[in-house]
Each structure stands twice: as structure tokens, then as C-alpha cells.
Subunit: 132 residues, 2 copies
């Protein structure tokens, strides 16, 4: 494999890993499966959420968004980094939910670092083409 | 060039294009230079901002963030898409500013579509490792 082919293979593997995490968590509610995909040395940059695999898994088991939905709109991957643009809706929320971009760094085939930005999806009149 | 090499060359060119836009806009305040890098058929998904190159350029000339600063933390590019994670501070804001992810789609070597998510950077005690 050439270095260019290796780079693309890595990117695609990382994309697949991250997509699987969202499916396991939001579609299946299977936090134990997600736990297998989180690196022991996990570093957190999201407000009010912990670093460390075990603490983060515990957080995920009690998070406000567990049991909610996530519609993944696009995944952008480059080197060790993966960006996920998705529309997250909390359980019981009948509104338009949140626009979220999660950024993940992958190491050793697992999620090792996380950043995010989120905002409520505004009323449609403010975004004629939609937030996504 | 192999297809893998072409894909990586495209990604790097798109990354460079987007980085240049942020430098021209935030560092140089040169909206006319940015205008040259926006596609005529520009489509907007950011709240309260217009589609169309000319309307968007006019918006950029009067935007609240013109004259502010943007510290780009990372750029992630994949195919036609580029994600920019940055810390934007409005003119006169002495606080921690906003955490922003802008997503851009590139066509014909220009920015043709834009989505974003932003939130205020919370107080440090809520993010021990920082938002970035």
C-alpha cells in the first residue's frame, strides 16, 4: 500500500469506528459496546463531562441524551481526527433538538479525545435552507 | 497521480483555501479578498445569514464578528468538506468568546456551502482540559 492509500484506509477506518459508536449508543442504547471503543487514556474537552474511560462510560450511562436520538448528517475524517455533524434530540423533546459537531481523535483504533460544540436548532424562518 | 494521491491533494488544497479565508477575513479584514473565494452559487445553513455570493459578502462586511479574532485550533478535511474548529471573539469582547465549528463544502476551488454550530466557551471550572 502506498502512503496515500494508507492515509485513506486509516481515515475510512476511523470514520467507521465513530459511526459504529453512534449506532451502538443512540440506536442500540448499548453503552457496554461503546465502552469497548473508548481508549483507556480518554481526554475530555466537553463541558461537564469527565476524562478517563471508566468515568466517561459511567457518564454515558446516565447522560441526559441516553435514550434520545441522533441523526448523523455527515462525517468528515482526516488523519486521526473525525468530525460528526448531527442532530441530537433528547428523550421527550418534541422540538427540533440540537445541532452538534463532535470532534474525536482516534488512537490505537479507539476514541481517545473529544471536543464538541452544540446549539439549539433555531426556528425555521431563521434558516431557510435548514441547519443541516 | 493515483486516485489516492489525487484525493489527498484535493483535501490539502481545500484545507489551504479555507485557512486562507480565515486569515484574509479575521487577520487582514480583507472581505474583498474573501469574496474571490466564495462560489457564485453559495448556499447558507447558518442562522440569520444569507445564501448567494453577493448577499453573503455584504453580510460579511457588516457582521458582528468583523474586526474580531479567530484562533483556528484544527482543520479537518475530507473530500469536498472542510471542518474548522476555532475560538472566535467578537470586537470588544474581553471574555473567552465562542467555540465554533464551521463546515464548508468546496466546489470549483471556492466555498459553496456553509453550516455552523457555536456556543459560548463556559467557565474554566466546567472544562478542566479547556474547550479546545
Amino acid at each position: 500500500m502506498t502512503s496515500a492509500e494508507s492515509e485513506i484506509a486509516l481515515k475510512n477506518a476511523n470514520k467507521q469506528l465513530v459511526a459504529e459508536c453512534y449506532e451502538r449508543y443512540f440506536r442500540d442504547g448499548d453503552v457496554d459496546a461503546v465502552a469497548q471503543l473508548i481508549h483507556e487514556d480518554f481526554v475530555q474537552h466537553s463541558p461537564d463531562a469527565p476524562s478517563g474511560r471508566d468515568a466517561y462510560v459511567d457518564h454515558l450511562k446516565h447522560a441526559a441524551f441516553l435514550g434520545g436520538s441522533s441523526a448523523v448528517k455527515r462525517i468528515i475524517a482526516d488523519g486521526d481526527y473525525v468530525a460528526v455533524h448531527h442532530n441530537m434530540t433528547l428523550p421527550g423533546d418534541t422540538g427540533a433538538g440540537l445541532a452538534v459537531v463532535d470532534l474525536w481523535r482516534v488512537a490505537d483504533g479507539k476514541l481517545v479525545e473529544h471536543w464538541d460544540v452544540e446549539q439549539p436548532v433555531p426556528e425555521p424562518s431563521r434558516v431557510p435552507n435548514g441547519m443541516f
